[in-house]
């Protein structure tokens, strides 16, 4: 704890980052129920009004919808997807990477080759093609695809983490008392690799947000009127001059959340990586 505090003091940016993350979490959990406007409500007397007018804290878009409500509501879907993808991909990554790294040999070679192949397609391209193929995307497909696209990378991280522990003597000690592979992998090794894996999860979290936003921007993300942040940016790009807030605030939302999470992830890696 004292260590954490010491590191935090030397990385003061972690404080605003934590506040921002907390803010968005809070927004996602309780925000939507506290909004003066529903995220789809069209206030046709206030189309593209500037922030502050007509009770619209961040102004409205071309359909008179409240930007603030949409952003707050949007935090829900983006955080859900990002959380789920980072968890899924890490889970799948840990299972795959651990299995491959632990058993080594042919399994590992096969795994590495498969991961090479999967990694050869950039995640964004893969997701875009698949979502394009599927046509319509919802939270489930989006989560699934982004998770799959990210799994090879997390699997490699997990495998690397496992390999750094696999040949340490306490693993041999466990073997010599006849422990099962599962026990060794998940009871002996996992707790010691949890640091890099958690760092990876948080990093994935940030990447997922960027990815979902980018997919929204490319028009293969969630369907309107779900207020997806990336989609809001592209939707309102036309009115960037008439109503810059409609582009600015969603962009700021994306940027603040991703930067905050990246800072957090960075901080976490400093805490977790002991020898510094």
């Amino acid at each position: 704890m004292r260590r954490v505090w010491y590191i935090a003091k030397r990385n003061p940016l972690i404080f605003p980052a934590l506040i921002i993350i907390l803010f968005w979490l809070l927004a996602a959990v309780v925000g939507p129920s506290r909004m003066a406007f529903s995220y789809t409500a069209m206030d046709m007397d206030h189309q593209m009004t500037a922030p502050g007018m007509g009770g619209h804290f961040m102004g409205t878009d071309s359909l008179g919808r409240d930007i603030w409500s949409r952003i707050v509501f949007g935090s829900r879907s983006i955080l859900t997807i990002a959380l789920l993808t980072s968890l899924f991909s890490s889970l799948a990554g840990v299972v795959l990477g651990f299995t491959a790294g632990y058993f080594g040999g042919r399994i590992d070679a096969l795994f590495l080759r498969a991961m090479d192949i999967m990694m050869a397609v950039p995640p964004l391209v893969l997701s875009m093609v698949v979502l394009g193929v599927l046509g319509n995307s919802n939270i489930l497909t989006l989560t699934l695809i982004v998770s799959i696209a990210y799994t090879p990378a997390t699997a490699r991280v997990a495998r690397g983490a496992l390999l750094s522990c696999k040949n340490i003597e306490y693993v041999d000690a466990a073997r010599l008392r006849g422990e099962s592979h599962l026990y060794i992998m998940f009871r002996e090794i996992l707790p010691n690799t949890i640091g890099p894996i958690i760092v990876e999860v948080t990093a994935r979290f940030a990447y997922s947000i960027m990815m979902v936003a980018s997919l929204g921007f490319l028009g293969v993300g969630l369907q309107p009127p779900t207020p997806d942040w990336g989609m809001m940016v592209i939707e309102n790009k036309t009115i960037i001059k008439a109503a810059p807030w409609a582009v600015l605030y969603p962009s700021l939302a994306i940027a603040s959340l991703v930067i905050a999470i990246s800072l957090f992830s960075d901080f976490l890696s400093k805490v977790v990586i002991r020898d510094q």
Partner: protein, 320 residues
């Protein structure tokens, strides 16, 4: 001999990856809902017309026959014909766009590689100081901004407000990218933004670990001036992981191109892929995806070889 062996091995590995990848892409795209023939003829076409087209397009063959035909076409350099622009050979559109994208990618590389290495080294040498904090935060922030956000920012500042660069990156008719490098600046900068973060952070941490290494201690304690320590002793070793990262991120670069090219309307591989997906032009999607994959695989292989070449431990293996 020592140099050729890994080369051949890489080549074999590359081939396997590419073949597997092509199968994957082909299957994935062929599994698209909807019938290609129907798509060509539209919803109002008669079933006979659709059936006839199916037959003539060879869609009735088993999937592996179709894959074989497609793959052998690819090997011969025949990229097939577009489904959407009926009868237009893909090659006639494709290579020009690839060329455009490569110019853009090269320019971006030209921007971000030296930039991120210089700043990464600087941050690494000044680790813990204010310079480091500023560079690191800037790197993190740029990295955390999706390309389209940084692209829009760049666009509003440099194209709309200052009008230094064109707002869209359309190539004037009858000209090539080469005469219009100004249209590339903003897209290249958007990519630079994102990649700068990755590469400079990598460079920083490898610089730090090198600067903490025993041989740097040796160099300092030999009385070498700081300049010599950094440039002669540290940099060569600290660059190795960075080179790997740059090579590995080629895939990322192309992913980024899709967003950036779409945003700036640049006629490159990225926007071609995007429009292929939007029009569900399956043969074109396949070619684009395969090409991006190939770029990644080849650049990874080159990186590996380069790494081996630059690293004496791999170049001259074995003890005395």
């Amino acid at each position: 001999m020592t140099f050729f062996r890994p080369f051949l091995k890489r080549l074999g590995g590359m081939a396997i990856t590419l073949v597997a990848m092509s199968i994957l892409i082909f299957l994935l795209v062929e599994l698209m809902p909807g019938d290609a023939a129907q798509r060509v003829l539209g919803q109002s076409a008669t079933p006979q017309a659709v059936a006839a087209l199916r037959e003539s397009m060879g869609l009735n063959d088993p999937v592996w026959v179709r894959y074989g035909r497609w793959a052998s076409g690819m090997l011969r350099g025949d990229l097939g014909t577009s489904l959407y622009m009926r009868g237009v050979p893909i090659a006639s559109i494709f290579w020009r766009k690839v060329g455009n994208s490569l110019v853009l990618a090269m320019l971006a590389l030209l921007f971000y590689v030296p930039l991120s290495i210089v700043f990464g080294v600087l941050a690494g040498v000044k680790a813990g100081k204010l310079t480091d904090s500023i560079i690191s935060f800037f790197g993190l922030a740029t990295m955390a901004l999706p390309e389209f956000v940084s692209g829009i920012i760049l666009m509003t500042v440099f194209a709309v407000k200052l009008a230094w660069f064109p707002i869209t990156s359309v190539i004037p008719i009858g000209e090539s990218v080469w005469n219009n490098l100004d249209i590339l600046i903003l897209p290249a900068l958007s990519i630079t933004f994102v990649m700068f973060g990755y590469v400079s952070r990598m460079q920083r941490s490898s610089m730090i670990s090198v600067m903490n290494s025993d041989y740097i201690r040796s160099a300092v304690l030999k009385g070498m001036p700081m300049r010599k320590v950094i440039f002669r002793h540290a940099l060569k070793n600290a660059l190795l992981p960075t080179i790997t990262i740059i090579g590995m991120n080629m895939g990322w670069l192309f992913g980024g191109l899709i967003v950036v090219e779409t945003l700036f309307g640049f006629p490159g591989l990225g926007s071609l892929t995007m429009s292929a997906v939007k029009t569900q032009d399956t043969p074109l999607i396949e070619v684009c995806a395969l090409f991006i994959t190939a770029v990644f695989v080849v650049s990874t292989a080159i990186t590996d070889l380069l790494y081996g070449f630059l690293n004496p431990r791999i170049r001259y293996p074995g003890g005395s």
